[in-house]
């Protein structure tokens, strides 16, 4: 039965903390005890589902790991998890980003010399941003 986790407690997440998060929602006035319990339990089930789904469908398992990329893929590709897309954005290597910029420059270029210089300056700043973050 999936009711109990290995520790044999009914729920592991602290109800008090779950309650704080729920109450941070402005429209919510009160929460019945059963509703609080169910939300905590549902969150545990959610964590397990997100983890196992991401592991199963991701490439991390090639190295026996669950990686951030696995999670981010799940958020993007699976409809049920799409509400997470904003908080699990895809990451991009700085080198790939540079190549993307160069390509865009080449595509948009109509052969003006000094414009290129300006763009290069911007490019450096942008790279700084992405590498720094």
């Amino acid at each position: 039965m999936a009711a109990r986790l290995s520790e044999n407690r009914l729920v592991s997440l602290p109800l008090s903390r779950i309650r704080v998060i729920m109450k941070s929602s402005p429209e919510v006035s009160s929460i019945n005890q059963d509703a609080l319990f169910l939300t905590a339990k549902a969150t545990e089930l959610f964590v397990q589902y997100l983890a196992s789904y991401s592991y199963k469908h991701g490439r991390g398992k090639e190295k026996n790991a669950l990686t951030y990329t696995d999670l981010s893929h799940t958020a993007e590709e699976c409809e049920t998890f799409q509400f997470l897309a904003d908080i699990l954005p895809k990451k991009i290597l700085a080198s790939k980003y540079l190549k993307m910029l160069e390509k865009e420059k080449r595509d948009g270029e109509v052969g003006e010399g000094h414009e290129e210089d300006e763009e290069e300056e911007e490019e450096d700043e942008a790279v700084g941003d992405s590498v720094g973050s």
């Binding site: 009711a3 704080v20 729920m22 019945n32 005890q33 059963d34 089930l45």
Partner: protein, 143 residues
């Protein structure tokens, strides 16, 4: 209530344990992944709460109840949670009922000389009771 940023996060140790239970033994979970799942869990709570609250409002109630949360799960397309949630809820309700009755008996005894002994309870019990009492003070019991 003033919330510090960390209060909206769930305890790392517990999250990690829940993740490990979902994965095959020995799988490595990167710190980044764990942190991301923790954030996702908080967002899930917010989303579920908002959704459940819509159902409560439709029913012209101000208190979120169990039915609202279950409806929210269906709405969010987590039907797979319904059976385990309902089962757990039953167990939870039984446990709560059992605790209440045990407490009633204890209170009766406390009127006589065993007042000191009855205070030597597990910390867990106390915490949960405190929480319940807190709830009862603030919230209507609405089912």
């Amino acid at each position: 209530m003033a919330e510090r940023p960390e209060d909206l996060n769930l305890p790392n140790a517990v999250i990690t344990r829940i993740i490990k239970e979902a994965l095959p033994d020995g799988v490595n979970i990167s710190k980044e992944a764990r942190s991301a799942i923790s954030r996702a869990a908080s967002v899930f709570v917010l989303y579920a709460t908002s959704c459940a609250n819509n159902f409560a409002m439709k029913g012209k109630r101000k208190t979120l109840n169990a039915g609202d949360v279950l409806s929210a799960m269906e709405e969010m397309e987590f039907q797979r949670f319904m059976v385990p949630l309902k089962e757990s809820l039953e167990v939870y309700r039984r446990e709560q009922k059992g605790k209440k009755e045990a407490r009633k008996d204890k209170d009766k005894k406390a009127d006589s000389e065993e007042q000191d002994k009855s205070r030597e309870e597990d910390n867990d019990d106390d915490d949960e009771r405190m929480e319940e009492e807190e709830q009862n003070d603030e919230e209507e019991v609405d089912n």
